[in-house]
Subunit: 211 residues, 4 copies
């Protein structure tokens, strides 16, 4: 009852709960990434998170709920729009590189979660829609606006905007997939990807003087 007995009794518990939830989610991501959603058992996750099976259900509704939780974490880490807009100010090519660097970093950090979620996204219609909207459509819209503006300004030549944007998105998604597949160059030279990607997308492969 006395206020001095415990300084913010809830805050300590709260913190412990948050940490535990975090631990469970991370364990889930790791196990899902390693064995796939369906091969992964709740037991696996519980053991890795060092909790009892039942404890997981104090934090998540179901095994599927863990997947949703991971998706939410990914979305949280994204907050793309603002930053992307930011990154795309100024010189077109330069901002491309910056934006891609950002992106590559996120992909690298989120690789495990993406690997955990992506196979199931390809399979589950609900996840599919959610992932597509959060991860693809949101960026598509932005990129399309940006591309149109740049074309207007003459910084970029006229192209089929929606398809071109899809190509770029495809590359990003494809890079994730190829990394998951264990492609070696993509792992060892990951840092160089943004520059190569910008060159490809922006300048093309055609030699400079060859107009």
């Amino acid at each position: 009852m006395s206020e001095s007995a415990q300084s913010r009794p809830t805050s300590r518990r709260e913190r412990l709960k948050r940490e535990r939830e975090e631990r469970i989610l991370e364990a889930a991501a790791t196990v899902f990434a390693r064995k796939g959603f369906h091969q992964a058992t709740i037991r696996d996750i519980a053991e890795l998170a060092d909790v009892a099976d039942g404890t997981i259900y104090n934090y998540f509704d179901s095994k599927f709920g863990l997947l949703i939780g991971i998706m939410a974490r990914i979305a949280e880490l994204e907050r793309l729009p603002g930053e992307l807009v930011q990154a795309l100010q100024g010189d077109a090519r330069e901002s491309f590189v910056t934006a891609f660097q950002e992106r590559m970093g996120r992909i690298e950090r989120g690789q495990e979660m993406l690997q955990a979620v992506l196979p199931e996204v390809l399979v589950n219609p609900d996840l599919r829609v959610q992932f597509y909207q959060q991860y693809v459509l949101r960026i598509s819209t932005l990129l399309e606006q940006y591309l149109r503006a740049q074309i207007e300004l003459g910084h970029i030549k006229p192209v089929n905007v929606p398809l071109t944007v899809r190509m770029v998105q495809s590359m990003l998604v494809g890079l994730i997939v190829l990394r998951i597949l264990g492609d070696d160059p993509l792992r060892s030279e990951w840092a160089d990807v943004p520059e190569v990607l910008a060159t490809l997308v922006f300048d093309g492969l055609k030699p400079s003087g060859m107009e």
Copy 2:
């Protein structure tokens, strides 16, 4: 029943067997694509193929064997190397477009099988290796050789060859994924993809006179 009753008893039987195996494999691809490998049941497949559950095991070792079977069918449809080499003769840009058209067609036709196989490929280490080698590495090697040659010839400017090739591969893989995710432009404007892709990769987005 007597051996003389039919001119070539085995060959007819053989054909029936082939057809049945084919039917089962197609059913498997359809069901896997629709529900995912783990949600799909042998019963589902048996019903769609109009055979009994047990019959499937006369043709395939296991449920997983069906997946392997589908992978094999994809590989069979590929026979890339030769054709790719063929396609890449002559003018660089032109052969790019031709090659991509080829590829887009294959992707479209093989979509169901790819959708059936891809999620599990991302999850199963063995499949991963097999898919990576058959579907990525084989082409990577070819493209790398080609790219180097073109650079040598001055038709293409000097770039980081392995990464550049990965970018192109990523795009192809990413296109598959985005189609699976149900992206609308990619479905409705699929025919235009090769040209846009070639423009992007070959010419870049930079306006012509802007060197």
Copy 3:
């Protein structure tokens, strides 16, 4: 293929299936009666029926389905209406005794199934309605008609018909419950119950000359 190879191939299988279903249902009734629906495990039932756990699900939808199955068997054994009507022809008291004898026999034979089902009937609203209608209401309606007719004829004195019928039904239901509770006299002197019951209901306890 030859017709003489197996005489009615289906009928043998059919028979085996019937027998197996029967065995499972009996096992379920026994186990439910012994341990109660919720304490009973599918394993228990499977072992008693000498089948594998999964086999049960080839015959019944769920554990609850077994209960429904037992209820259906009880209803099947009943076919009350016709027989009751039959029994109640002729002298009132005599037909009472006959009808009750019939009933007591059925209760005795169906004891295990009733014991399996009754506790859950008291607890599950759906079962409650079904049991009430099949086991109580159907008979109530008949008895009410009969009673009214007998009153009309002056064979029975005017009484509150619905409630009186409920009393009789209560007694029947109560007898089942008391038997389940293990009451000794009801087990050892079961054969005398109909006569005593008829005396009680028909003549009352008042001494003969005491009007």
Copy 4:
């Protein structure tokens, strides 16, 4: 906190404890009656009693202990013997009606607790014995004595005493069951039951002049 601060610190606490125990027991009876013992969860009961899950275990040993507690409460409310003896003095028929009225009232008031306990009583051997002795045997013995005495006195005609008593008990138990089953006449005309019951048991259905 100091012992002198409150005149009778324990007695107040005692009262609070009693009230809480009472609240828990009532909540348990309600939930058990509503969902059945096995479907009911400690959480359900805790919520209805407005206490934490763990608190319940400060008052009762286990979930089963709650059932025992309810049984004890029923027995407490009974105190039959004395009152029954009292009620059965004087005119036979009149005392029957009085006794039954008493009983009906108790059944009505105790309905929830009976509904909570009865299904499990039918299933659990220990409860079965306890319930049988407290609720059936105790009264049986009394009624048998009474019946024998009345027969001796010529107020009641000679009958099979144990079985006759069982019939009456069956009716009482059966009335409870039929009420649980939701029988409408028994609910709406409950007040008339004692009279009808007495008529049936005492006078029988035979018309007055029909000896």
